[in-house]
Each structure stands twice: as structure tokens, then as C-alpha cells.
Subunit: 205 residues, 2 copies
DNA sequence: CAGCTAAAGTATATGGCGTATACGCAAGCG
DNA sequence: CGCTTGCGTATACGCCATATACTTTAGCTG
């Protein structure tokens, strides 16, 4: 997890992990893990374990769901690899399942059918993971394209702005020259509210 | 694109593409494309070009936004690799930018600031791409795990259900034994409505 | 038509990846 | 003492993107 925290999902190689653990060869890992996918499964579940859950749904279902999603979001910002790797593996780790179960209990407690509860939980998770993934990919792209220095980044933005103007995208070019608006965290909370509002309206028609 | 349509993003190798084009070697592609990333950029923009846009925002902003998002969703279901590859590249293809510009124009026409418009467009895109990615990963996982026959799939589901019971996840286990609720398309439309409702409320406070 | 050029394709090689297979080595236990 | 069991290693394979250097082909020009 430390390797992936620092270098992103694409730095997570068996070699890098073995090296991090000491003077080991990549193959030594296979004594403890079936495959790289197995390692990833363990990582994903360990990260999910960092999401604090109330022991039991409380009186305020909105607060419960909001808390789970916000905790997930915070965790995914700590571990940017999470959003990149999670969709590549089945969500069957014990902590991962416990988290889903909690969401289902909260929703079922409000009169949702099991099918609705699964659907709403899926929508909320997509929101959390989708947003985190966007943050992660932005970081990864910066690393890939070598935009580590502010100067290189400015160059890239200027180039992009030129492309936008050339394509006749006036508003886009304007925004690129002077980005504004809510940051990612604010966007996240706003649209989480949208989703919870929508769920609430459907729960109490 | 045909290669990726059939085999998913992980089947998209330079060899596979060259072979598909005729009796060519992988290296021949590099006469036409700078790198594999360059090829992916072209693919992403070509796929984005399939999204039909009104020439100009119409009187009904909700219908406009909804149409763009639904068209994106339909396209991403046709090209399951799109949602996997799009987040790995900057969204700077001409068609991609034109599409964003259209969203911004629609929102700016309703009095949104440029910053708000960018944020709302981002939220809608995350929803479309996040949902498509989930579908894509489900397919990819089935391919990877060799769950092509119904029997293998049933086995896997039964195993997962056992895990859920073992972890004390009653609701989850129950749902796995008898999945129900809105399918992906219905989920998509429902939560798209949630998001549009939220945006509307913010536009007309 | 001869000859040059530029485009298109190929051959070969490098370095990185996950991992199958076979081996070495130490600790513990009968 | 010898055997298993657990852990680490060495080597090799196949697949990937791609750098580099070569050959072939088509077309234009003098």
C-alpha cells in the first residue's frame, strides 16, 4: 500500500513491493499471495477497512449514508490507487461486503425494497469511486507527462487552451485561461446532496 | 476500435491492431501513430464523434443536457473500452472539446457561472463514464475469470453468496441469491434525473 | 526513362512485466 | 538422523511497447 500510495497504481509491481519489504526477490511474494490480483484484493479490502462504519444504522438515515460515502471519499483521496484498482476486482472482501451490507440495512430500514437498496447503494458508490478516480487519473497523468514543475504545467495548459480556441470552444478556452468554480471536494458534496435528495424523494413519494 | 469492441481494452495491443489491418507487423503502426497513447487518443475522439449534438442549445436546457448524457451512455455501451480508456488520457480531442463546449453553453445560457457550468458538466460526465465503466468492468471480469458459460457463472455467484453469509451480510446474501431491482439502464436514468433536479434547483434558487 | 526521394513496412533488440518451474536452505520434530 | 514444511531464490518464458536501423515501394523530376 505504501508503494501504491507513493507511485500510484502503475508503480505497483511485484518487484517494487518485494524491494520495499527488504532485500527480497519478486518471486518471494508468491509464497504469501496467489497472484498479483490476490495482493490487490487484500489491499482493497484493507483500505476499505479504514472506512469507519457506525455499528448499527442510526435514526438519521441520510446522515448514515452521507457518512459512509464521505468516509469512502476521504479514504480514496488518501489511497489514490483505490479507485483505479477497485473496479478491476469483484467487491467480495469481508470489509467491502460489510460496508455494502450497512448501506443496504440503512436503506431497507426506510422502506426500500432490496432491489432499490442495491441500486441506490450502487449509485452512491459510483459517485464516490468515479470522483476519486478522476482525482487519481489527474495525478497519474501529471506523472506520466512529466508535469511536475509548475512551468511545464503552465505550458501544457496554454497548449490545451490553444487547442480549445482553434476548435471554436470559446467557453472552454476561457475557463482554461482562468479556472474557477467549486473545487473537487465542493463538487463532491454538492452532487452527493443531489443524489441523497433524489433518493429521499423516491423513498417518501 | 473493432479490436477493442470485441476484446475489451486489454485486448487492444499493437499486435492485435496490426493483425486486424492485414498481414502487418506491430511496428508498421508507428508510421501512422506516435505511440499507443496516440492511437488511443484517436479512438477516443472518434468514439466521441458518434455522440450526436444539437447544432445549438435549444429552448429546453434539461432536454439538451439529458440528450448529451444519454447519447454518451449509449455510445459507451457500444464501445465498452471507452470508459476504461477515457480517464487515462486528457480530454482534448476536437470532438471531445466540442461536446464539453456544448454542455457549457447550455448551462451558461441558464445563468450559471462558468465555474459552475464546468462543475456540473463534470458531475454529469462522471455519472455517464462511471456507469459505463462499471458495465465494462463486469464484462472484463467475466472474460478474465472465464465465466463465459452460465454454469461457471452460477458457481461463482453461489460462492460469493457463501462468502456474504459467512461475513454476516444477510441482505447482501439474500440479494445475491435472487437479484432484483432496476437494471443498469433504469438506474442510470433515475440518477441522471436526480442530478438534473439538483442542478435545476441550484440554477433557480 | 533514370535516378532520387519520401513514405511504408520490416527485422531485430531492449527492458519491463507477471509468473511457471525447479531448486536451496533452515527449523523443528519424529 | 532424516524428513517434512515454510520461505526465499534462480532461471526462464511469453507478452508487451517501442528504439533503432534496415529494406522495399511509389512517384516525381530532371
Amino acid at each position: 500500500m505504501a508503494v501504491a500510495d507513493e507511485g500510484g497504481a502503475e508503480a505497483l509491481t511485484m518487484s517494487a513491493v518485494a524491494r520495499r519489504l527488504g532485500p527480497y526477490t519478486p518471486m518471494s511474494l508468491y509464497r504469501h499471495v496467489l497472484s498479483k490480483d490476490g495482493l490487490v484484493d487484500l489491499m482493497l479490502d484493507a483500505a476499505t477497512a479504514e472506512i469507519a462504519l457506525p455499528p448499527v444504522p442510526g435514526p438519521d438515515w441520510r446522515a448514515d449514508l452521507r457518512a459512509v460515502v464521505m468516509e469512502t471519499w476521504e479514504m480514496a483521496k488518501r489511497h489514490l490507487w483505490y479507485a483505479q484498482l477497485a473496479p478491476t476486482r469483484p467487491p467480495l472482501g469481508p470489509h467491502t461486503m460489510r460496508r455494502t451490507e450497512f448501506q443496504l440495512r440503512v436503506l431497507a430500514g426506510q422502506g426500500a425494497t432490496l432491489g432499490q437498496a442495491v441500486a441506490y447503494a450502487a449509485v452512491l458508490d459510483r459517485h464516490a469511486l468515479g470522483s476519486a478516480q478522476q482525482v487519481a487519473e489527474e495525478h497519474a497523468m501529471r506523472r506520466r507527462l512529466g508535469l511536475d514543475t509548475p512551468q511545464r504545467l503552465t505550458e501544457a495548459v496554454t497548449a490545451a487552451q490553444g487547442l480549445a480556441e482553434q476548435a471554436g470552444c470559446e467557453l472552454l478556452a476561457r475557463w482554461m485561461s482562468a479556472p474557477s468554480g467549486p473545487d473537487m471536494d465542493e463538487q463532491f458534496e454538492i452532487s452527493l446532496t443531489f443524489l441523497l435528495d433524489g433518493i429521499e424523494a423516491r423513498l417518501n413519494p
